[in-house]
């Protein structure tokens, strides 16, 4: 009995220390965001909040078009999310609830594309975007991923379990077309799955950096992560403003993640856990 409570104490202690390691950088960036730029880097380093928040706000908003970047990120994330929900639910519905020729092979193909490294097509893709005149538009960030393989996988999994055949049959008897079944039955019943896919897509888009950096080089058109990296690499960068900008970019993410952590973790690891 004694041995057990000692083990319990040590496991608890280790897990607690690790949660400090994972949580501390978040706390730290919020602390630094409240110190004026000239005092962010000081010895000893700050562990508690300072009084430079207002100053940092002013500098941040004068150095980069922070609100514009925020709205760009938001807009791109919303459009990506809405289109992904629509197209992935549609494809998931087909894979989960229809029998058709080559279904298994086509599904396996969709899954297999997930293993293709992103860098393999980046060079010609870039030339294509230039040729299409899509530079400095949202399109390269939104269109290619509209019907993403991961989203299709997620929605297929979800619909297999949550959409009874009888309802579809009843819908057909009532004279619904196949598209009608999709709109009137599949979409409403798939809402919980769509919510998870939506949140995951939103987070992915919100965080995406490389494609935004390549295709939205203009500071006024670009997204929050790219604007932050521009601020970061400026010689005259103001540390307080940079920390505030970083902290603010994390606020929506942390709120959404803590509110839906169980569903987000389950959704993101669905593919790994399944196999």
């Amino acid at each position: 009995m004694r041995g057990k409570s000692i083990a319990r104490f040590f496991i608890g202690l280790i897990l607690f220390l690790f949660s400090l390691i994972f949580a501390f950088p978040f706390y730290y960036v919020f602390v630094l965001a409240t110190w004026p730029g000239s005092r962010v880097l000081e010895f000893p380093p700050h562990l508690f909040f300072g009084q430079g928040l207002k100053e940092n706000f002013n500098i941040l908003f004068s150095r980069v078009p922070y609100l514009t970047n925020f709205m760009n990120s938001l807009g791109i994330a919303v459009v990506s999310t809405v289109t992904a929900i629509f197209f992935c639910t549609m494809a998931g519905f087909a894979f989960a609830k229809y029998q058709f020729k080559f279904k298994k092979q086509l599904y396996q193909f969709v899954i297999a594309t997930l293993a293709i490294p992103g860098f393999l097509n980046i060079v010609p893709f870039y030339k294509m975007m230039v040729a299409f005149g899509w530079m400095n538009t949202w399109l390269p960030l939104v269109v290619p991923g509209m019907a993403g393989a991961f989203g299709i996988f997620l929605m297929t999994q979800f619909m297999e379990n949550s959409l009874p055949e009888e309802i579809l049959e009843a819908g057909r008897i009532d004279g619904l077309t196949e598209f009608g079944l999709l709109m009137k039955i599949a979409f409403p019943l798939a809402k919980p799955g769509m919510a998870i896919l939506g949140i995951i897509t939103f987070i992915g888009s919100w965080n995406s950096f490389t494609s935004a950096m390549i295709f939205l080089p203009n500071v006024k058109k670009t997204t929050l992560p790219v604007a932050l990296s521009m601020l970061n690499s400026r010689v005259d960068n103001n540390m307080g403003a940079l920390m505030l900008g970083t902290a603010l970019s994390l606020v929506p993410l942390i709120i959404v993640f803590i509110a839906f952590s169980k569903q987000i973790i389950a959704g993101l690891t669905a593919g790994a856990v399944k196999s």
């Binding site: 380093p45 197209f87 969709v110 594309t113 097509n121 980046i122 932050l228 790994a272």
Partner: protein, 298 residues
């Protein structure tokens, strides 16, 4: 009859957006990059067919590519693979019956995974700062001397692998917890009757039972680890510095992107992409052999 026909066409229409988009933005550029890799394609100027010259140059005369592959392998071991030795014990601990706040630990450990790389690197660059960083402060408190982490080649690697471990341990831990929960409880009960200790039980039951999941998780880490770009790119200040001191942060993917978007040598960059792809296939093949050996299958 009409009805039956729409029912047989509908699924193809429903899945068609993926295939159309993948053909245009996936297959076409991927195929085109093979073509480009055989040409001395630049951002501007005439384009000529040069056969395997890009590949030969990259593999034999380009000092940066060898360096970049070396850096990537070091980060693969100290970042992408090391994290499994942290994630699995953590998963076993969080999953054990005596731990109550399972959801709290999962949420806290997983949060770095959903955080943008830019934000993570900006925060860690601050923590690793030579003169004012918290890490050097703690080292000095413990009686050590401050170390110029981001200005020195070994320090850059340490900082990068710290970031990679910090960001992805939670992800792997969650996968391993799910794997642990799928192991039949009676296996452990039988071991209890035999009087096996905790260590022995994990070695004899947990590890072999988890082998397929370990293989899968490590495969994902290899695929991800070979593509590391954003972390070194932001940490070492963009393309210009080519990975910082002694190119220590120059990963293969960063060199690929540099070759394409800074040097403007699109053909050469395409060749690098295909060499990297083959390296990834090779590493995953090794991974398969190793995990099969571990599982006692030959």
């Amino acid at each position: 009859m009409k009805k039956l026909q729409t029912q047989s066409i509908a699924p193809y229409i429903f899945i068609s957006p993926f295939f159309i988009l993948f053909a245009v933005f996936g297959i076409f550029p991927i195929g085109y990059s093979i073509v480009m890799s055989f040409f001395n394609w630049k951002l501007t100027g005439p384009v000529g067919f040069i056969g395997f010259q890009n590949y030969i140059n990259v593999l034999t005369v380009d000092p940066y590519f060898v360096k970049a592959i070396g850096n990537t392998v070091v980060l693969l071991i100290t970042g992408s693979l090391l994290q499994h030795f942290i994630a699995l014990p953590l998963a076993i601990m969080v999953n054990s019956k005596i731990v109550k706040q399972k959801e709290f630990f999962k949420t806290t450990y997983f949060l770095p995974y959903v955080t943008s790389t830019v934000a993570v690197v900006i925060i860690f660059s601050n923590l690793f700062d030579t003169n004012f960083g918290l890490i050097n402060y703690v080292i000095e408190l413990l009686g050590g001397k401050p170390y110029p982490w981001l200005a020195q080649s070994v320090g850059i690697k340490v900082a990068l692998s710290t970031i990679l471990n910090w960001k992805y341990v939670g992800w792997n831990m969650v996968i391993y917890i799910a794997g642990l929960q799928s192991i039949p409880v009676d296996l452990y009960e039988a071991a209890d009757i035999d009087g096996a200790g905790t260590w022995k039980k994990h070695l004899a039951i947990t590890l072999p039972q988890l082998t397929p999941i370990i293989f899968f998780a490590v495969t994902l880490s290899i695929i991800g680890g070979m593509q590391i770009f954003e972390e070194p790119f932001i940490m070492t200040g963009g393309y210009e510095n080519l990975g910082g001191d002694q190119n220590s942060g120059l990963t293969a993917a960063l060199y690929l992107m540099f070759t394409a978007f800074k040097a403007g040598r699109l053909g050469k960059a395409s060749a690098i992409a295909w060499i990297l792809f083959i390296v990834i296939l090779f590493l995953n093949w090794i991974n398969r052999i190793v995990t099969n050996k571990l599982a006692g299958k030959d």
